[in-house]
């Protein structure tokens, strides 16, 4: 059953993985429990900051799950913490979307509705999300590997946008 734990984010596994594995070793795997773990993993993927906020106490832990830079904001209304990295990602996502959208509008005025301009419009909409997804899913891969993956996906997105505009 421990294979289901691989669906949890790394920081979460570092913090709670051993305890959860120990618990699961004593539970019988039922479809209900499998579904519960799947939804738990989805929740953990959506809220990785929960595991990152609590100090890992496992022996031999790398300490990578602590709040980045020891810096966090506390939101009084929801008791939710935003790390410096969260803020940087959010600003980069919002900023790049705005810049690309403005570039698209400017090109559309200057050049007109050429297929490649429409393809750029698609990149303006989905490119930053794509970049963020690559960043999120890349794990420990090198910067070059991330850049390669992002370029391939971006090229695919441009092709789809170009083909859609030509239809």
């Amino acid at each position: 059953m421990s294979f289901l734990l691989r669906l949890y984010p790394k920081a979460w596994r570092e913090r709670y993985g051993e305890e959860l594995a120990d618990l699961l070793a004593r539970e019988r795997l039922t479809p209900r429990l499998a579904l519960d773990l799947l939804t738990g993993a989805l929740d953990a993927q959506l809220h990785p900051q929960l595991a990152a906020r609590t100090a890992p106490k496992a022996a031999g832990s790398s300490g990578g799950a602590t709040v980045i830079g020891g810096f966090s904001f506390r939101c009084a209304a929801t008791a939710r913490t935003t790390t410096r990295e969260d803020l940087r990602s959010a600003l980069a996502l919002a900023g790049s979307t705005l810049v690309l959208a403005i570039a698209y509008v400017w090109l559309k005025r200057a050049v007109g509705s050429a297929p490649w301009v429409e393809a750029l419009g698609q990149v303006a909409l989905f490119g930053p999300v794509l970049a963020y997804s690559v960043q999120l899913g890349a794990g420990n891969r090198t910067r070059a590997a991330r850049a390669f993956l992002f370029t391939v996906l971006l090229g695919l997105l441009l092709l789809i946008g170009y083909a859609a505009a030509k239809l």
Partner: protein, 110 residues
């Protein structure tokens, strides 16, 4: 700084609200590790919490400072209620007791 009562009622655990309350009640007796909590909650309510739900609630309670790991514990790690957790639990139980009283009074008059 917010008053304690506001602090205690402001913590919102969304769909983990009920499991989080059950974990707090379970830990109010004595420190427990995950499996012991599941067993205790099953004895209290007749329902067995799933491991994913349990650790979703534990992570939120720990992040909110309402429970903490006992120092020095190994693989089977026990958690205990913090002072803030005990205050939070008192507020939640008082709220539930009020609702129960009102419900019973209304049912008696129906």
């Amino acid at each position: 700084m917010r008053p304690r009562d506001q602090e205690d009622t402001a913590t919102d655990f969304g769909r983990f609200s009920e499991p989080a309350l059950l974990v707090l009640v379970s830990l109010a007796g004595e420190p427990k590790h995950g499996y012991a909590m599941i067993e205790d909650i099953a004895a209290m309510t007749g329902a067995r919490l799933g491991a994913g739900t349990l650790y979703g609630a534990i992570a939120r309670l720990e992040a909110g400072g309402l429970i903490e790991l006992l120092p020095g514990a190994e693989r089977r790690r026990p958690y205990r209620l913090t002072a803030a957790g005990a205050r939070h639990l008192k507020v939640r139980l008082a709220g539930l007791a009020k609702v129960t009283r009102i419900g019973q009074t209304r049912l008696a008059g129906a």
